[in-house]
């Protein structure tokens, strides 16, 4: 495939907590595997029984549409028994701590736990307390590894490579785990990264991640092959980061005139859910020639199937 490495045989990690922990071999192993699942997902019979008899628990402490359904579908297509915990009806609401919940679930012998949690590092804590593999489906603002992997797969699918591409990541970087995971992954795969955000939404010392920092979107988009937009995470904003959505759209919303600065064949990506008219122009989001947003969702299932298979067996 598009990433040249020594032939990877086995994943180096027990858990998938973040891109930070993965080697390039690990990444290539996952992406190669995911690639084979794209076809499976498009065929009539989508079921393959590689995880028959295995138990997968989805533990989502934060609301999620695409990630949770994507993981659920991925597990089911691989033949695993999938249970999605409903947090609002669980003992967590009664004040049970994460560790106690983990112990309880662990006693039921799951083979894999998929966790999303509002606190950074929650999956690390969980992984120390259970015997099975833990897959991070997003922890606080730290990492969202499967999102970055599906983004990489989408880019490779379209551009046939990542090395040498110029990729802009734009928007609420501060609160974004997607941005962090993508920075680690795309950097590892040899892309040049332009990070675009108002200073109030830029993590401190971001340049130490090995990226270019821009507060002017037009400059940041110049000659980019990929424009990755992020959702403005208003629910994580405790105080005034921005004056208004209107002004944000004016300066950081992706509009046709700003997109002009990128390469003519630039692709638009967004991890969803989108705030149309705040970070992205609604026509652009739906432009089938430019936007690969739906493809990201589609390949997300393939990537999660690959991760489940690799970490579960």
């Amino acid at each position: 495939m598009a990433i040249k490495t020594d032939k990877a045989i086995k994943i180096s990690q027990k858990h998938l907590l973040g891109i930070q922990d993965l080697s390039i071999n690990d990444v290539s192993l996952i992406l190669d595997e995911a690639h084979t699942f794209i076809k499976v997902n498009q065929s009539k019979n989508k079921k393959i029984n590689v995880l028959g008899g295995k138990t997968q628990i989805n533990l989502f402490f934060e609301p999620s549409t695409r990630t949770q359904s994507s993981f659920e579908l991925a597990g089911k297509r691989l033949g695993a028994d999938v249970m999605s915990m409903n947090i609002s009806n669980s003992a967590i609401k009664k004040g049970e701590t994460l560790i106690d919940t983990a112990m309880t679930l662990n006693a039921m012998h799951p083979d894999i736990i998929v966790i999303r949690h509002q606190d950074s590092g929650a999956c690390n804590l969980l992984s120390q307390k259970v015997n099975c593999a833990v897959l991070n489906a997003g922890d606080g603002r730290r990492e969202h590894p499967t999102q970055a992997l599906l983004d990489a797969l989408t880019i490779i699918n379209r551009k046939k490579k990542i090395e040498g591409l110029k990729i802009a990541i734009c928007g609420d970087i501060l609160h974004s785990r997607v941005a962090r995971s993508n920075i680690y992954l795309l950097n590892m795969l040899g892309a040049e990264l332009n990070i675009i955000a108002p200073t109030n939404l830029m993590p401190k010392e971001i340049e130490k991640f090995g990226v270019n920092k821009f507060t002017d979107m037009k400059k940041g988009l110049k000659d980019c092959d990929i424009v990755m937009m992020l959702r403005l995470q208003s629910e994580r904003m405790s105080s005034s980061y921005l004056s208004s959505n209107r002004e944000y759209y004016e300066y950081y919303g992706l509009t046709p005139d700003k997109l002009e600065y990128a390469k003519p064949d630039a692709l638009i990506m967004h991890p969803g859910p989108m705030n149309r008219g705040i970070e992205i122009d609604t026509m652009l989001a739906d432009d089938i020639n430019k936007s690969v947003i739906k493809e990201q969702v589609e390949l997300g299932v393939a990537v999660r199937m690959a991760c489940l298979k690799i970490f579960c067996t």
Binding site: D119, S120, G121, L125, G140, R141
Partner: protein, 428 residues
């Protein structure tokens, strides 16, 4: 009590500028009768068998200016008995307790309770603080005068800061009128809001909100500006950054104040947090290595007066949580001296500088006759094997709470005996 004779010890008593090999005589009432090189086998009564401390050190009992005790309200974390045992095992014989209990130490009647419990259950000297404001809400002042007359040593909101500058100036006025010592935990609440660790690359990587150093600096600058107008006894509880040291250096020439630093900030930096170690969630946060080095230099330059343990016992349950949910603070009174000695062994600081910051300097700020080995004083002291290697093990800690910031750390130097009023209360 029998008279006690010690000889051949390396005695370090900064208060009396003593740093020599000599002996110590404790009289029948537990007071120091004689000390120094004059006390040796040649001039002791022949029938007495002195204890030979060859190779060991004698320091005044440590005075720890920032200690949290769980009593009242959080006895399951630490009570006066467990605190005093933990202190003794670390050579600490006097502690200044923070008012952050439940209820808060903010009125005269609770001080009576505190003094009684401290006296009955604790074997060390307890100097309680009261809060600056009622229920540490930062709105109404407590009764400084009445509380002081009941035996309150100083006033502080402990883990909280007076945010309102007008209230702070009024507090300073009252403190000036009444001669009270006020101690500020310098942190601008708005700038530090939701913050958990130092703002910077580590916080960005871990996805945690940061506490910028400017949150500390801006508060210090405000207070020292007020202090130019209102000259009261003012102490900054803990410094954590290089920039704060710079501010202090400038202001020292203009106005009189004192400051402290936690042994955690002197020994560790933000990299030690690693993979979300909740035991290193501290306030002020651990910062960059440059900041740590600046703090060490600050002690060397006598810009910082005091080293504290910032002993904050937290039970396991408060720490077995995600980083953002976990309680702040580390237990540290029993490792205060050993960890401080690391700075001597790695040649960062002179031994006298360290001992001064742990004994005579805090005593001077508090205006108590402790932390020295003057003739006629109560014999509060510790004997230390300064080279003894040991490893910090959670389960071996004396404190009721095991939340040490330095689990499994290899240390060099350990207290072997601690005496309060001439009585040996701890032996390793």
């Amino acid at each position: 009590m029998k008279k006690q004779y010690f000889i051949n010890a390396n005695i370090v008593d900064p208060h009396n500028s003593l740093n020599e090999i000599g002996g110590l005589i404790i009289d029948e009432s537990g007071k120091i009768e004689a000390i120094g090189k004059k006390v040796n086998t040649n001039n002791l009564p022949a029938r007495e068998k002195p204890i030979d401390l060859k190779g060991k050190y004698v320091f005044p009992g440590l005075v720890d200016m920032r200690v949290f005790v769980g009593e009242p309200g959080y006895e399951y974390k630490e009570n006066f008995r467990t605190l005093s045992n933990a202190a003794l095992s670390g050579g600490v014989t006097s502690v200044v307790t923070m008012p952050n209990t439940d209820p808060i130490i903010d009125n005269v009647s609770i001080v009576d309770f505190l003094k009684r419990r401290g006296r009955d259950k604790s074997k060390i000297n307890v100097f309680p603080c009261a809060s600056l404001t009622k229920n540490i809400e930062g709105t109404n002042m407590t009764e400084f005068g009445l509380l002081q007359s009941k035996g309150i040593i100083a006033f502080t909101d402990g883990i909280k800061t007076i945010q309102n500058p007008r209230l702070m100036s009024r507090i300073m006025n009252s403190a000036k009128d009444l001669g009270c010592l006020i101690m500020q935990h310098a942190e601008d609440f708005e700038l530090a809001k939701n913050g958990m660790i130092n703002s910077g690359i580590i916080a960005s990587k871990l996805g945690l909100s940061g506490i910028p150093e400017i949150a500390e600096r801006i508060l210090i600058e405000r207070d020292l500006t007020l202090l130019e107008k209102i000259k009261c006894r003012y102490h900054i509880s803990q410094l954590s950054s290089q920039k704060s040291i710079e501010v202090i250096k400038q202001r020292k020439e203009i106005v009189k104040f004192t400051s402290g630093v936690s042994i955690n900030n002197l020994s560790l930096n933000e990299n030690d947090i690693g993979d979300f170690k909740t035991f290193l969630k501290l306030s002020p946060p651990l910062r960059r290595e440059e900041d740590r080095l600046a703090l060490v230099q600050g002690l060397k330059d006598e810009l910082i007066d005091v080293i504290v343990s910032d002993h904050k016992p937290e039970d396991e349950e408060s720490k077995r949580l995600t980083f953002s949910q976990a309680a702040t603070g580390a237990s540290g009174i029993e490792t205060l001296l050993s960890l401080s000695l690391e700075l001597y062994h790695n040649e960062s600081l002179k031994l006298e500088t360290i001992i001064k910051a742990l004994t005579s300097n805090p005593a001077k700020i508090l205006k108590v006759n402790k932390g020295n080995l003057s003739i006629g004083n109560e014999a509060d002291f510790c004997i230390v094997d300064i080279d003894k290697p040991w490893i910090v093990k959670k389960e071996k800690l004396v404190s009721k709470s095991k939340n040490t910031s330095i689990e499994n750390k290899k240390l060099q130097g350990r207290v072997t005996n601690t005496f309060v009023k001439g009585i040996e209360l701890f032996r390793l």
